[in-house]
């Protein structure tokens, strides 16, 4: 199902606890969101200011930034997975896994 960047942003903030992040000199075309969970590296994702719906492959990239597999991401967006499910998932089985450099 096609979603707009606004819909995804709204879900990330209201349902999953992401906060807007502001990089120094940040571009006006992007909005970054961060989630800090105790004991895990910061999870960051980026969305554009575009009003166009997000493409299928791009949603795949966003799901990887969120550290979940695509089916789980779809359930997050369709409201069958909530905040606690998501936090448990990234703690138990982040995908792709956090790098070995941490």
């Amino acid at each position: 199902m096609a979603r707009s960047p606004r819909q995804i942003e709204s879900m990330l903030q209201s349902k999953f606890g992401f906060s807007p992040a502001s990089a120094r000199g940040r571009s006006k075309d992007h909005r970054w969101y961060e989630l800090r969970l105790r004991g895990l590296p910061t999870i960051r994702t980026k969305l554009s200011h575009s009003k166009k719906d997000v493409g299928d492959k791009l949603e795949g990239k966003i799901s990887r930034q969120l550290k979940v597999r695509r089916p789980f991401y779809e359930r997050m967006m369709s409201c069958t997975k909530g905040r606690e499910d998501y936090y448990a998932q990234v703690k138990k089985d982040p995908y792709p896994p956090f790098g070995t450099h941490y």
Binding site: W32, K52, G99
Partner: protein, 138 residues
């Protein structure tokens, strides 16, 4: 230099760099990536290439960073890496490249800002610096 200036100046880098990317591989077949802004990739193909050493004004790539270019379901081009999970989008390959470069630099800035309070960001910044570094004072 602002990030938007980096974006506009890096599109020229994209044109020059794409001209060196002739013969980038897509699976087992070889694709030719044109320097023209109208260059296209079949929706089912994914082209991989390496971020140019001078990928943006004021920045240098140290270690090879592999990028993938794909065509998305909405006709937009998508450029991404699997190391930092950064992506860029655009209606042309050059635009996607400019957006990717800008996003990569923004990501670097966010991680750098996070190092004061987060040991994971300190590790991520070391990892980033193994791949790219600013060449001028920010």
């Amino acid at each position: 230099m602002t990030l938007d200036e980096v974006r506009s100046r890096s599109s020229g880098v994209a044109d020059r760099s794409l001209s060196r990317w002739h013969g980038a591989s897509a699976g087992s077949s070889v694709l030719r990536v044109s320097t023209e802004s109208t260059a296209s990739i079949a929706p089912t193909a994914a082209v991989t290439l390496t971020l140019p050493e001078r990928f943006a004004p004021g920045w240098r790539r140290i270690k090879p960073l592999v990028l993938t270019i794909e065509c998305d379901s909405n006709g937009q081009y998508l450029m991404s890496d699997d190391e930092f999970m950064v992506y860029g989008v655009g209606t042309t390959i050059a635009e996607a490249y400019g957006d990717y470069v800008l996003s990569l630099i923004e990501y670097f800035g966010l991680v750098e800002q996070g190092t004061a309070e987060n040991r994971y960001d300190a590790a991520e910044l070391r990892h980033l610096r193994a791949y790219l570094q600013p060449t001028e004072h920010k």
